[in-house]
Every structure is written in structure tokens, then in C-alpha cells.
Assembly symmetry: C7
Homo-oligomer: 240 residues x 7
């Protein structure tokens, strides 16, 4: 009942405030993220691990076709949760931002700069008329001059740095695992192992490379590296 | 009842989020696709087959006049389902995109690039005010430097790669057939035969070239080739 | 009852989707066509016949003043049904399109190209805000390099090729006659006779040149030719 | 009751279709015309007569101050009915159109060209957002290369040629008189006499030059000529 | 009751037609005029008199501070009724119009030209979205090449010429006096006397220069001349 | 009850007329002024006094931080009441206006010119869509070539000249005092004394420099001069 | 109940006035601030202290990642409360403003100039259509040519100078402490101590550097200096 009254007054055309100071359209966009697949990131001194749940709508979908972890630049990747089409559009802008930075300053874009720039775009879509907020949350991981980095941006445009974090439908359970076992000076292998354990909480049945998408950016190479299915299975066995 | 409340609050002027994080206008556009004719694609190592249901609103309509499979470039075709006029407008943009690619890079556009570009246009129509989403879904098939390719784009702008897939009103039944019998290394003739069998599930009465529109892009020639009615009937007989 | 709820939610300002994937404003525009006078076209190998019902709102209206068959170019004509003012505006654009084609390519515009271009304009008016769809349907007939052609465009922007077709309030009855007697290799005289018989189904009282507007584009001359009242009466007598 | 429901859904901001294919704002604009004063035109071989009812809101209004018959060019006049301010704005555009034609082609604008151009403006105001239709109907009379001409344009943008016609609140009665006595080869004096008789049906009390505004464009002179009150009274006496 | 229904449907955002062909926003703007102070004009062969009721909201308001009679050019003045701020904005445009006319044609602007130009602006504000009509009515008086002139413009943009006229809250009573005693060849003194008598009908208590604002434009001088309080009191005594 | 009906129909998006010719949004903006602090002005032959109530939201607010009397130019000040942020924005425009006048005409801007210019901006915000009226009223005082001046502008854009005037929540009581004791040829000291007495009616407790903001523009110096707390206390003691 | 009626009429699309002269959207934005973390500032002769509550949404968030105190320029910092993404966007504009000032005038921007410029942007977002107000309040502290400065800007655009002030959810309690113990000539150490005591009122459990973010701008150095965790803990111990 109360809902009907609210619904009609606040969430039209432009994102407006409700009487208690909330932006409904932004909160609804957050719901879109909660309905999305789970993605997570683990940042240790030796690098960053990004992982995401992989669930095929059909047996005939090509492997890796609907990616949830995007390469943004040589040294930066991003895991997305929520509306995939929204994510792709933002990732494209992020890639351009990164290219422009290389041309202008002749150096790779810092992960924080890139993350804030995505946050700014998202904020703009919560304040101006004629558009809706982006229904997507990102975990942006990379290695730059300051070492490994992991940032999150949410639909409202908030940007925060994390040691490890999870987003999407199964975030709560995954975060619990991350919090209980995270160690900053873990090896990259241990970080991968932690990421797999955290993902297990949201995956039905036995864990396998068909259900996991995984990427690492080692501090040493500073290079985005997508793990092959074999590599993932190997880690699963090791983590076993 | 509940519907009235929802209807009035969320689906006006611009595509906004509902309290549970859905974009109603996009979902309604998906309904337009479900009301459309069935189209399907089968991608094997030897090439791609695109097929679509053909149903005449009148005995006096010219054969092939309301096409559901469009040629986008020499090496790419697209089967559409949903609002035909929306499809035509997007296909026109895709053709220009393909031409521009040839001029700029002096080579045929990759099927994935083209598909993502259509997905981006579709996404934009779900986020900005003053427009409605496109009520059409595409199966984009072609052969490029990476061999045969088959992509789907939906009204929200999601792009996914498939081995074989069906869209439109009868998609569910057709997909079942495709999943049960698909083989990646099948010959093109076998792929055509599979496509016909899958289409049979949505066609009333005896299958015939008057009820099927079919196109192939063989890996060998990399050329879009519309099958004549005789050719189709020949395949039907063979598949018989 | 249910209607009131629907009416308020979907058909404002911009053409949006209803929950079942329909565009209400487009469907309402189709209703405007159904309330319009009947027009029809017959395409045979020897040419195209366009005919339309003529009904004077007043005895003092000038003959042929409110035309329903428009000349678009030397070789193309169009019968319209629905809102006459909308039709005139679109026909003006079609004429410019045809002129531009002659200037640019030094040859008459193909009938299909012209028809698709009108379809594209119509589609645009169903997707962008601040405008309503065109409340008019066209039968576009002509003779080009591929021989006689007959296309229909509807308010949603769909374009289809026909052998013979009717639009407007009495379309159903007229189409029945066309379907039962159409022959592709009929003479132009027989085609005219068929058109008159089909029109008879929608005309009250005795058929006469005061109730019929008729135009031919013979395959031989490729010239749009409006039939005089005498000519029409002659054909009526012959068809008698 | 039903009306309230309809009213809220269809006639806002932009002219949209009702479920039965009507444009309400256009129909309401037609009502504005029906509430207006009566104007009429008679076209004979020897010229055109435009006449309009004259009713002063106050004894102190200057004669001819709120004109209902406008001179558009040397050879064209227009009688208006409906919202006078709307009419004046459109007449100003028509005058510019006529001037431009003289400059561009070095000849007077054909009456049909001018009428269609006004019709096009009117149609545009029924299809695009942010404006309302023009609440005025015109009878445009003149003499051009094709002899005397009389056209009507209505709020929807429809343009039609007439031998004689009436618009405004008393149109029905006036048209009856025109239809019963019109002759194409009447003298201009007889045409004036017919116009006065038709006007009589809508004028209360004794006919006099204080109640009639009258203009002629003789075929011979091709010049717009406003009749003086004396001239009008003379004709009334003659018509007696 | 009926009002609520009407209110919601017709008078939003843009001035739209009601089912019976009226423009509600324009009619409501007319109400703003009826709530305004009374102004009147008397045009005789020897010149024009403009007069207006003067009522101070406070004893400390400066005399003549909220003027209701504006000088537009050397030879033209305007009495306004309704929203004073709206009036001032339009008068500023009128002054520019007058200046431009002097520069362009090297002669004073005709009163009719100026009045129509204000009427055109007013009409535009009744037809385009995003604005409301002007809530003001003018009596524009002046002397030009055609002698003394008096025009009225209302919120809808209608322009009419008057011998004498009154606007605003007390218009009805004032017009009655004007109609009963107006003479075209009266002296300017008699015209002033008539204006004062007409104003008396709307002024409470004894007439005095503190309650009357008065301006004359004599035919001889063609100069706008604001009467001093002494001058006004002198006339009141004379009119006695 | 009645309110609900009104609220929904008239005060949206753009300032529209109510059926009785009022502009609700403007009236609501006037309410914002009535909720504001009191400011007043006294203009005598020897100069202008501007005074305003000073009430700190907190003990820690800096003195004079939320100013209610603004300096516009060397010779002009303005007391504001209503929304302070709206006032500041308009004062900034007024300052630019004053600067431009000095550059263009090499002389200080007349107080009336400045006041009308602010009134014009305010009027514009009551007539065009997409903005709300300014919720602020000004008392603009200064000394120019015509001596001391005091003008008021309200949210509708009305501009009026006053001898003395008060605005804001306690205007009524303050005006009463001003009216009873105002003398045009008072000394500036007496004017200050009068201003303090008028302010007393709205100030709770004992009058002190902590509760009063005061500015003078003496006719002699033509310079805006903010009175120090000591100066104010001195006057309070004198007025005692 | 009453709320529903109000909600629908006043807070759409654009910030409009309610019948009692309030801007609802602005008030709702104030609510967003009240839901935010607490920030406070203390300005003494020896410098400015900015402090803010630090609460981590997760154990794995990086320290200082979601900053609430921003550096704007060498000599200016700002504490924000409310929507963090809104704050970041405004701070970016403030930084540009400060840079531009350095380039244009070759000197650091005065704190008041910067604060008013942010207030102006905020005001604009409360008056123009198509945007919502900023849901953030700032405490802007710095040292410029006039010594230490502390300003507050609220969502409506009001700017005020303070000796000491607090914003956000726990403002009331913190202000109480500030008011009771503030001394203008305190040492910077005492000011820090006061800030910590004020913060204590809003922090649950034992105060520690993990719960406090603190920045100083000493009058001597005129340099923004973020206090390290150790430094903060030292002060806490001292304040003990």
C-alpha cells in the first residue's frame, strides 16, 4: 500500500530524493546488482586475483562468451556484477580512458584514477534527468606504481579501496570467507586458493573450471592474465 | 491490481528500474521478441547456417518480401525476431558499420565487433530518455579470420557467442533439438539438416520451402549465400 | 475497466511497450488507417494499377481535390489510407527522396528503395519521444529496372512486397476478391477490371467514375498515368 | 465518466492517438472552429468572393478592426474561422511564403501551393511534441494562372479544393444555400448575391454592411479587392 | 467535482485544447486580467487619452512607482491591466521594436504594427510548450501618420482597434460610460473629462489625483505627455 | 481536500495559471519570503538606511557570515528576505549588471535600472518551464543622480519605489511603525532611529547590535557604509 | 495520508515550492546529510582542524579509502557529510576552481570565494529542471590572507562562516560540546583535543585512530596536513 504511493512519486524520469533522503532509482539499481552473478577480488602483495561465477544459460553458449571479467588495459582488469550490457558500455569507456592516459602521460593509468573516473560517470547518471543509473557494480583490480590495487564502484558512484571484496548475488557468503582467511602477504597461489574457496559458497554442486572465470595480475609482471580452464582446474585440485 | 500500481510508476517516458532492479521496458521489449517468428543459427567448423520460419500474412505477398534473414556484409548475415521495422533500422546501421570497417582497416569486420556494436546501440536505447528499447533480437552469423561465428544480441544489449541457438516464439522447442543433436565438426549439409529439424518443431503442417527461409556462410567461401526454394526443398527431401 | 489502467500507463508522450510487448500508439495509428477510405493495388507483368474509393464530403468539393493516389515520380505512384494530412507530408518527403536519387545516380529510384526509405521514417516516429506515429498506410506502385513493383508500408514501418493488396476500411473484402482472381500474367485491362471488382465490395450503390480514383503505370511506358473520369467509366462499362 | 478516463490519457503535452485512432487535440481544435464566426467563399469562372460574418463585441470597436478576411498577396485572400490570433500568425507566414515565391520564381504563387504550404505547417503542429494544433480553418481564394481557385485547410492539415464552401459556427446552414444555388458560370455579381444569401442564414436581424465583411478577386483583374460598406449595402439592396 | 477532472487533464505544462475547443490556460490568464486594476483609453480626432486607476498598497509607496501607463515611444503609450511584471517585460520588447523601426525605416512605428507585434508574441506563448501565456491586457494608444489610434491586445494575442475601451476589474462599468457618451470629434479636454467620468465608476470615495494616472497624446504634438497631479486635479475640478 | 485537487493540477514542472488567474508557484515563493527574516529600508532626503534582523542559528556562527544586506556597488545595497541562496545568486547577477553599466556608460548604474533588471530576471523565472521562481524579495537602496532611492522587487518580478518599506516575516509590524513616523526630510540619524524602532517590533528581548545588521548610504557621500557593531550599539543607546 | 497527496504534487522532475514555501527536494536532500557520518571543524587563531567519523563497512576496506576529508588545495580542506559520490564530484569542481584561481591571479584562492562558488553550484541544482539537488553538506576549512577560515555549505546553497561546527548524523551532540568549550585563541593542540571530544559523542565504544579521520591546516604553515594514525592516537592519549 504504502509502496504504491511512494512508487508513483519518486522514481520517475529523473532520480529524485525520497522524503527520508534516499535516491530510489539508485537503490533499485543496487537490486539489479544483487540479482547478478557473484564476482570477487583478492589483493595481496604479490598481485591481484579476480574471479567470477560462470553459469551458462544454455549448453550451446560458447565458453567465455558472456564474460564477467574484462581486461581494461595491460595492467588492469574488472569484474562486473549486475546488468551485463551496462557493464560492457562502461568498460568500453574505461578502456578509452586508459588509452588516453597512456598517450597523454606516456604511462599506464593508476588503478585509482581509472576507478574514480568510472565512479564519476556513474554519479552523473544519478543526478541528471533523462537517464537511469547504471545497474552494475565493478571490482577493478590491477598493479600500478603503488603496487597491487583493488577498487569497487557501485551504482551511486561511490569508490572504495579493498584488500578483498565480493559483489553480486552471493557476495555476503563470499565476503565472510574472505574476511576470515585473508592475509596481505599471502602468495598469489594462496590468494587464488582463497578466491576459489570464497566462490564455492555461491556455486551449486562440485566446483570445476566450467563454473569459474579467473584472472590474475601478478605484481611481478604487472600483466593481466586470464587463466585457462586447465589452469583453473589445476588450482581447484591443489586447493581441493 | 498490483499490476496497475506497477504499470503507472515504472514504464513511462524513460526506461527506469523497478524496486526489484528490473527494467520493465526492456522486459516488455523481450515480450515483443517472444511474439515474433522463430529464427535459428547453427555454427559448425565448416560454416554457419541461418534459418527462419516463413509465414505469409496473405497469399499475395511476394516471396521473400518480408525477410527475416538479412545480409549485412559479404561474409555476415543476421536472423531477426521481434519487430521487423526495428530490425531493419538496426541492420541498416550494421551495414554502414561493416562498410566503414572495410574502408578504415581494409578488411572485413569481425563478427564479434559487429555484434558488440549492435549491442551498444541497443543498450543506449535502454538508458537514455525519450526513446524506447529496440524490440528485436538478432542471431548474427558469419565467417571471419577466426573462422565461423554465431552471436546473439537481445533488446537489453547483451551479446553472447553460441554454437547454435534459436530466438523468437518457438525458440524453446528448437533449442531442445539443437542441444540434443549439435556436433561442432558436422558437415554443412548436416548442419542444414539439423536446422531444418529444429525448425520443424515450430512449423505447422508439412515442412516445405514456402515455410522456410535459409542462408549459409560456408567456411570455405566466406560468402553469404541465400538458398533458393529449390535448394531448400532438396535439403528437406534429403533430411526427410 | 482494465482498459483505463492500461490507457494511462502506456500511450503517453512517447511510444512505449505494453507488458505484452505491443506498441499501443502504433496500434492506435493502425486504427486510424482502418477508419480511412479503401485503396488497392494490382501488379501484373504488364504494369501496376492503383485505385481508391472516392467519397465527397460535399457536392461542392472539386473533383480530385482530396486525392488519395499521389504521383511520387514519373514512374511511381502511391495510394494512401488513413490521415490524409499525414500522407501528404510523407509523400512530399518521398518526392524529394526520388529527386535526390535522380540527381545523385542519374537514374529513377527503385520502388523498393523508396518504400524502405518511407518505412524508415515511419519507424523513427515509433521509437523517439515527442512525436506520434504516422497514421497512414501506403501502397506504392511503380515500374523500375526490375519491372512492375507493389509495396506496402504500415504505421510501424514494416515494408512488404505484394502482387496485389488493399488497405483501409474495406481492405478485407477487397483482398478476398483480389486473392480469388489474381493472375500475374493478366493484361493491364484485366488488372483494371479486377481492381474495379475489388473496389465494388466497398462502394455503396452503383459503381461510377465519381466514386473511383484510378492510376496506371504500364510496364511499357514506365509512366504514371492518372485515368480520366471518361476512361474510368469506359472501363466500368467494359468490366460491367 | 468514461470521458474523464479518456481525457487524462490522450490529450496531454503532445497530440497522441486514442485507442480508436483519433487525435483528440485535433478534434478539440475543430471545436474551436465550430465556435467561431462564419466565413464563406464562392468561386465562379469570373472570380472568387470571400465573405464573413461581422459581429462587434462592443459599439466602440473600430470597423474592420478584427478582420476575418485577410489579404495574403495581390491575388489571394483568406477567410478564417476559429481562434483569430492563431489565424493572424498563420496568415503572416502565408504572406512571407507568397513573397518568397515572387522573389524566387518571379511570379505570383499558385493558390494551391500556398494552401498546401499552410496545410503542412498545420499538420506539423499535430505530430510534434510541445505544441498544440492551430485552432483555425481557412478558406483561401484567389486567381492564378489556372483561373479562380478556392481551397480549404482545416486544423489537421487537410487541404481540399471547393467550388463554394463555408466554415465556422454557421457553416451547415450556409453550405445548404450554396449547394442549392451554385452555378459555375455565374457572374461575379450573382456570386456576391449568393454569398449574401448564404450569410443571411447565420446573421440575426436585418442584413446590413455592419454585419458583413466582403472581398472579391475578379478573374479579369486578378486583384484582391475589399468591398466598401457602401458597395456591400448596394449589393444587399440589389440582392434584396 | 467536474472541475477536478478538468483541472488534471487540460492545463498542464502546455496550453492544450479542452474537449469544447477552449484553451484553459488562456482563459485563466484572462482571469488574472479581471483581477487587475482598471485602465481605459479614449481616442478622438484631437488625440488619445490613457487613464488608469491608482491604488497604493502602502502609504509609503512612491507616487507613480508602480506605473500602469507606460511610454513606449515618443508617440505611443500603453495602459496595462493584469500581472504588472508580465506587462513590464512585454513593454520592454515593444520599446525595442519601436527603436528598431526608427532605425530601419527612419520613421516612427505605426501603432497598429506595434500592437500586432505584441499580439504575435502573446499568441506564441499560448501555443508552444514550456511557457505560460502572458497574464496581461494592453490598451495601446498613439498618434501616427494615420492620426490617433487605440488598440487592445489580450492574453490570447487578439488585436483590435477601438474608439474607446476599458480593461481590468472595472472594465464593464467604465465601458458603459464610454459607450453612452463617446463622440469622435470631441476636444481633448472633453475626452479627458469622459475618461475621468468612466474611471469614477471603479474608484471608491472622492475622485482625486492620488487615485488617477493619466496620459495624453495630442494629435497636434504627436507627443506622449504624462499629466502632473496638479493637471489631473485641475481636470477633475473642471469635470466637476 | 480542495487542496489535493489544486496541488496536483497547477503547480508542476512549470508555473501555470490556476482557474482564478493566479500563479501558484509564485504565491508559494511569496510564502518562502514570509518565513524569512525581516529586513527594512528607510529613504530620506539625506540618504538611505537598510537594516535587517540578525539571528544566529548557532553561537559559533561568525558575525555577519550569513549576511542579509549585500553591497551591490559603491552606491547601492540590497536587503534580502526569503531563501538566502537564491538571494546570493541574484545579487551576483546584480553586481555584474552594475559593473557592466560602469564600463559601458562610465557612470554608476541608476538604482531603478538595477532594480528593474532584477525584476526582469525574476519574471522570466515565473513564465518559462524547467525552473522555479526565486524565493526572495529585495529592498534595494542607493543614491544616484536623482538622489536617494529605495526599490522593492518581489518573487513575481514586480518592482516598486518606496519611501520606506519592510519585507520578511515581521514586515507587517515594522511597516506600521514606519508609516506612523516616517518623515521625508528627517536627518540620517533620525532615519536610523526609525529603522531601529521598526525592527524592535520583530526582535525578541532587548535590542542589541548582536540582533541587528545595518547599512547606510548617505546622500552626501553616495557610498555604501556597513555600520560596525559599536556604531549600531551607539545608535541604539541614542534611540533608547 | 496527507503525505501521499503532497508527495505526488511537489517533488517531481524539478524542485518546486510547496504551498508553505518550502522546497521539498532540498529538504529531502538535507535528510540524506542527516543519514551521513559526522564531520566537524574547529577554527582557532592558530589554525583549522577538520575531523570526521570513520566507520568501515567491512574489515577488508583499505584504510582511508572512503575519505570524508578531502584536500582541495595546498591550503584548503573540506569535510563532507551525506552522499559521498555527490561530494567527490563537487570536490573535483572545487579543485579546478582553486587551480584556475592560482593561474589567473597567481595566488591561493580565498576560502570564502571557494565556498561561495560551491554554494552557487548547489543553488543552481535546486532551481533548474532535470537535475536533483546535491545530497551533501561541506565544512570547508583553510588558511588564507585573512587567517584561518571555516565555512559550511548546505544542499540549498547557503554559505555561512563558523568558528566551529559539525555536520551529519551526530551533529547535534558534537555541536553541544563545541559550543561549551570553544575558545578562539586556543592552541592547535587544544583545538584537536576539542575536536576529539566532540567526535566522542558520536562514536560507539572506545575512541581510536581506526574511528577518526583528522586533518589540520596550521596558521603558520598554511599547509593542509593529514594526521597519521599514530599522530591521531597520540592526541587521543594526550586528550585522554
Amino acid at each position: 500500500m504504502a509502496f504504491v504511493g511512494r512508487g508513483r512519486g519518486y522514481d520517475r524520469a529523473i532520480t529524485v530524493f525520497s522524503p527520508d533522503g534516499k535516491l530510489f532509482q539508485v537503490q533499485y539499481a543496487q537490486e539489479a546488482v544483487k540479482r547478478g552473478y557473484t564476482a570477487l577480488g583478492v589483493k595481496v602483495n604479490s598481485g591481484v586475483v579476480l574471479a567470477a561465477e560462470r553459469r551458462s544459460p544454455s549448453k550451446l553458449v560458447e565458453d567465455g562468451s558472456v564474460e564477467k571479467i574484462f581486461q581494461v588495459d595491460d595492467h588492469i582488469g574488472a569484474g562486473a556484477s549486475g546488468l551485463i550490457a551496462d557493464a560492457r558500455v562502461l568498460i568500453d569507456r574505461a578502456r578509452i580512458e586508459a588509452q588516453v592516459n597512456r598517450m597523454r602521460y606516456d604511462e599506464p593509468i593508476p588503478v585509482e584514477t581509472l576507478s574514480r573516473s568510472i565512479g564519476d560517470i556513474k554519479q552523473m547518471y544519478t543526478q541528471h534527468g533523462g537517464v537511469r543509473p547504471f545497474g552494475t557494480r565493478f571490482l577493478i583490480g590491477g598493479v600500478d606504481a603503488n603496487g597491487p590495487q583493488l577498487y569497487e564502484t557501485d551504482p551511486s558512484g561511490v569508490v572504495a579501496a579493498y584488500k578483498a571484496h565480493a559483489i553480486g548475488g552471493g557476495a555476503a557468503g563470499a565476503i565472510e570467507v574472505l574476511e576470515s582467511r585473508y592475509e596481505e602477504d599471502a602468495s598469489l597461489d594462496d590468494a587464488i586458493s582463497l578466491a576459489l574457496d570464497a566462490l564455492k559458497t555461491v556455486i551449486e554442486g562440485k566446483l570445476g573450471s566450467d563454473k569459474v572465470e579467473m584472472t590474475i595480475i601478478p605484481a611481478e609482471t604487472e600483466e593481466f592474465e586470464k587463466l585457462s580452464k586447465d589452469k583453473v582446474d589445476e588450482y581447484i585440485k591443489k586447493a581441493g
